[in-house]
C-alpha cells in the first residue's frame, strides 16, 4: 500500500510537470490579454522537436532548448496574426494549434516507435535515501524541481515587479496603457512568445523525460487542460499550480485505483479529470463579479492602436 502511495506522489509530481510549464506560460500570456488556444499544437511541436533533438544529439539540454524555440516560433505565428494583424484570437489560436499538430507529426515521423534515454533523476544524495519521503519527492529529474522554481518566479514577477505590473496593466486596459506610451503590442508579443516557449518545454518534457518516446497524439488534450487551468485558477499563480497538481493526481488515479480493489470501468476513470474540470469551471465561473475581478479585462479582445 505504501508503494502505491509513493507511486501516486512521485507520479503526480512528474505527470503535472508538463502542465505546470505550459500553464505558467499560458497564464502570463493571458494576463497580457491574449487568449492562446493553440497550446496543444505548441506542446506537440515542442515534444516532437525535443525528441528528435535528443535522439540525434543525445543531449537533453539541446532537446529542451530546441523544443522551446520551435514552439515559440509557432506561437509567434499566432502573435503576428492576433497582435499585429488583429485577427480573431480564437480562430488564430485554433489555426496555429492545428498547424502545430501537423508540423509535430511531420517532424516526428521518422522517430515514431523509437525511444531515447530518459532524463536522469537529479542526484540528491542523502535526501533521496529518506524512507518514503525520499522516494516520493526526491527521486525526480531536474525539470520537475525547475518547474516549482518557475511557479515561484512567475508569481514574483507578476505580483512584485514592474514588469508584472506592466503586463497586468496592458491586460486590463490596453487603450489606456497605449495612451500612456506603454509598448502594448511589444509586451503582448513577448508574453505570447513566453507562453509558447513554456508550452514547448512542457511538451519536450513529456517526450524526453516522462515517457521517452514520440507518438502522434501523445499530448492527449493536455494543452486544452492548461487553458482550463488558468480559468480554474482564476488567473492566480498558486491556484493555477494547484490545479495542475490536482489534475495530475486524478489522471494517475485511473491506473492506481485497481490497487485499491475498486472495480470501475476504466472509461469512467479516464473521463473523470474532464468531468471534474467542468464542474470546477462551473462552480468558479458562477460568481460573475469574482471572475470579472480576477480575469484580465481585455482577454480575447483585439487591440488596435
Amino acid at each position: 500500500m505504501l508503494e502505491v502511495f509513493v507511486f501516486i506522489i512521485s507520479g503526480t509530481l512528474a505527470a503535472s510537470t508538463p502542465l505546470i510549464y505550459a500553464a505558467m506560460g499560458e497564464l502570463v500570456c493571458e494576463k497580457s490579454g491574449m487568449l492562446n488556444l493553440g497550446i496543444e499544437g505548441m506542446m506537440a511541436t515542442g515534444a516532437a522537436a525535443g525528441f528528435v533533438l535528443v535522439a540525434t544529439t543525445g543531449s537533453h539540454s539541446v532537446g529542451f532548448f530546441g523544443g522551446m524555440i520551435c514552439a515559440m516560433g509557432l506561437s509567434l505565428i499566432y502573435a503576428i496574426l492576433t497582435v499585429l494583424l488583429n485577427a480573431n484570437q480564437v480562430a488564430s489560436g485554433l489555426a496555429t494549434g492545428i498547424l502545430g499538430l501537423g508540423v509535430s507529426s511531420a517532424i516526428g515521423k521518422k522517430y515514431e516507435g523509437t525511444t531515447v534515454t530518459p532524463l536522469a533523476d537529479l542526484p540528491l544524495g542523502p535526501l533521496a535515501d529518506i524512507p518514503v519521503l525520499g522516494e516520493s519527492i526526491f527521486q525526480l529529474d531536474a525539470m520537475v524541481y525547475l518547474s516549482i522554481l518557475l511557479v515561484v518566479a512567475v508569481w514574483y514577477v507578476i505580483n512584485r515587479t514592474k514588469l508584472g505590473l506592466l503586463i497586468r496593466a496592458i491586460g486590463e486596459a490596453p487603450e489606456y496603457a497605449h495612451s500612456q506610451g506603454l509598448p502594448v503590442r511589444l509586451v503582448r508579443m513577448c508574453c505570447v512568445a513566453f507562453g509558447g516557449a513554456m508550452a514547448g518545454i512542457g511538451g519536450a518534457y513529456l517526450s524526453t523525460a516522462y515517457t521517452p518516446l514520440w507518438a502522434e497524439g501523445m499530448i492527449a488534450g493536455r494543452g486544452w487542460i492548461v487553458v482550463a487551468l488558468t480559468v480554474f485558477g482564476t488567473w492566480v499563480v498558486p491556484r493555477v499550480a494547484f490545479g495542475a497538481y490536482l489534475f495530475g493526481v486524478i489522471s494517475l488515479l485511473e491506473l492506481s485505483i485497481q490497487a485499491f480493489g475498486v472495480n470501475l470501468p476504466s472509461q469512467i476513470l479516464s473521463a473523470l479529470p474532464y468531468v471534474i474540470t467542468i464542474l470546477m469551471l462551473a462552480a468558479i465561473s458562477r460568481n460573475v463579479t469574482f471572475i470579472r475581478m480576477n480575469s484580465p479585462a481585455s482577454l480575447g479582445q483585439s487591440f488596435s492602436p
Partner: protein, 357 residues
Amino acid sequence: MKLSRLIMLPVLALAMMAGPAAAEKLKIGFIYPSPVGDVGWAAELDTGRKAIEAHFGDKVETVFVENVPEGPDAQRIMNQMAATGAKMIMLGSFGYMNDGLRLAQQRPDMTFIHASGYKLADNFGNFQSRNYESSYVVGMAAGYVTKSDTVGVVAAYAIPEVVGMINTFTLGLQRTNPDATVKVVWLNSWFNPSKAQESARSLMAQNADVIYSLYQDTPSVVTVAEEEGVYVINTSSDMKAYAPKMLLASQIADWRSYFIEQVQATIDGNFKGTAFWGGMADKTVDVRSFSSDLTSDQQAELNKVMDSIRSGSFHPLTGPVVDQDGTERLAAGVSIADNDMLGINWLVKGVETRIPQ
C-alpha cells in the same frame, strides 16, 4: 447494379486471361494499423513484406500504407489500392475485416489475407498465431524469476487472442511458482505508448517484479522496465536491444513463410481463402532471447516444454483448469478445442483482474 456487373465481366475475363501465363508483376498492397517501427506488430508484418520482395524479386511489386485507423479511411485506402492495380492485399488489423470482405466480394479477381479475423471467402483468407503456446513458456520463465509472486500484464483489449495468452501465461507461471498471481491493466487502445508506460509503472507500484507487455507495438513498456530494474516479457519482436539486462524473453511472430506461401498461391492462380493458425510447430511462433539470469536447469526445462509443444504432445491449455469464479472449465487431461479457444472469454484462477464487461 446490372451495369456494374456488365463492366465486371470483361475485367474478370482479362484478369483470368492474364492469370497463370502472366509475366506482369503482381502488385501487393499492405495496410498497417500502426506506424512501422523497428519492432512490434506492424514491423513483423513488414518483415513479411520484405521477405516477399526478396523471395519473388521482379515478379512482385509491393506498396504499403501505415498508421491507417480502422474505419472509412481504411476502406478508402483499400479501394485506392485496388483501383491502382493491386491484385492482392494484406490487411494488418482485425478492424479492416468488414471493409476488406466487401471489397473481396466486389473484386473476385483479387486475393486478400486478413490478420486475426474470423470471416472467410473464396478469395479472402485470415491468419492468426498460436501465441498462447509461447505465452505458456514465458509464463514458466516468469515463475522462475519472480520474488514478489506478482506479475503485471499490460494488455490492449480483452479479445480472445489476448485472453487466451493471459490464460496460458498464468498456467505456465503457476507451474513453476504455484503461489504467483497476475494483475492486468486493460489499456483499451491498440496504440498508446504513454499510457502503456504509466500502466507498467502502476503495476510495479503494486509489487509486480515481472511485466508482460502484451501486443504493445512500441518498446515503451520494455524500456521503462529496464530503467526500473524489473523483468519484462514482450510479444511480436525480439526486443533484447531495448532491455539488455532485464528482458526475460521475447515472444516472436514470423509470418514470412505464410506470406510467401500465399503469394505463391496467388501467382499460381490456386489461392483459396483459409484460416491459418500458425504455431510453434511450423515456426510461426517462437520464443527468443531468454535471459541469462535463468539457470541452466531452468532453461533446459523450458526447452523441454517447447519441444513437447512443437511435437504436439503437450497443449498449454489442458485441464484441470478452473476459472476466476471457481467453475471447472476443463476436466483433467482435456485440452481446449480450437473453436473454443477462438472465442474464449474467461480467465483462469490466479488472474486477479477481471475482463471488463
